[in-house]
């Protein structure tokens, strides 16, 4: 009689690599683009705010950059809240 370990544990071990982070993943996918665009917007807005305080940039550029940052931060925060909410919904599931 063949003795084998629990098939559920085997299946679990076989499926684990699917959830491991991929270090070779390129950031050209959609979410990576969104994140790098967000960082770029923040950087640009900070630069504009600094140069505006020192008298370099015109006020239109400042208002434009700050409004775009507000938009980007709002989007990021809303998407994050939605993701966390979905995750908590899964955690609350009775097993």
């Amino acid at each position: 009689m063949e003795i084998r370990s629990n098939p559920v544990a085997q299946a679990y071990a076989a499926n684990r690599p699917a959830t491991a982070p991929d270090p070779n993943l390129d950031t050209s996918n959609t979410f990576g683009q969104v994140a790098s665009g967000f960082i770029e917007t923040l950087k640009q807005s900070e630069q504009t705010a600094m140069s505006s305080m020192s008298g370099g940039a015109d006020p239109h550029a400042l208002v434009q950059a700050l409004a775009q940052t507000e938009l980007a931060v709002e989007t990021a925060v809303t998407v994050r809240d939605k993701l966390v909410e979905a995750y908590q919904e899964i955690l609350r599931m009775p097993v």
């Binding site: 239109h60 938009l71 989007t75 998407v79």
Partner: protein, 130 residues
Amino acid sequence: MADFSDAMNITASGMRAQAARLRHVSENIANADTPGYHRKTISFASVVEAGQSIGQVETGRVRLDRSALDQVHDPSHPMADANGNYDGSNVNLLIEIADAREAQRSYEANLKLFDQVRQMSTSLMDLLRR
């Protein structure tokens, strides 16, 4: 979100262009009594990037209005010629005030649109939040 940020860039470029226009109008009004001053006009052009228009507006070169200068009769003026006339400026205050008002209206329209774009994007995000 690219459309929203594009719209913001375009309206901001419109506001910048109208501010530049107002700057030259105020220069003309300030120099209305300067002898020999030609009024300055500014042209608008659409911004072209990589061979195609991106919808933004920019101000072009400043040109001088070449119409004849106003002849002012004042024999006591140090620049007066034999007939007692000297060259004034060719600034017409009525035209300048009308131009300034037009710039103001156009600026207001761009500002309104900027605010509307912001409100639209905010209410789109509000939809996700509830």
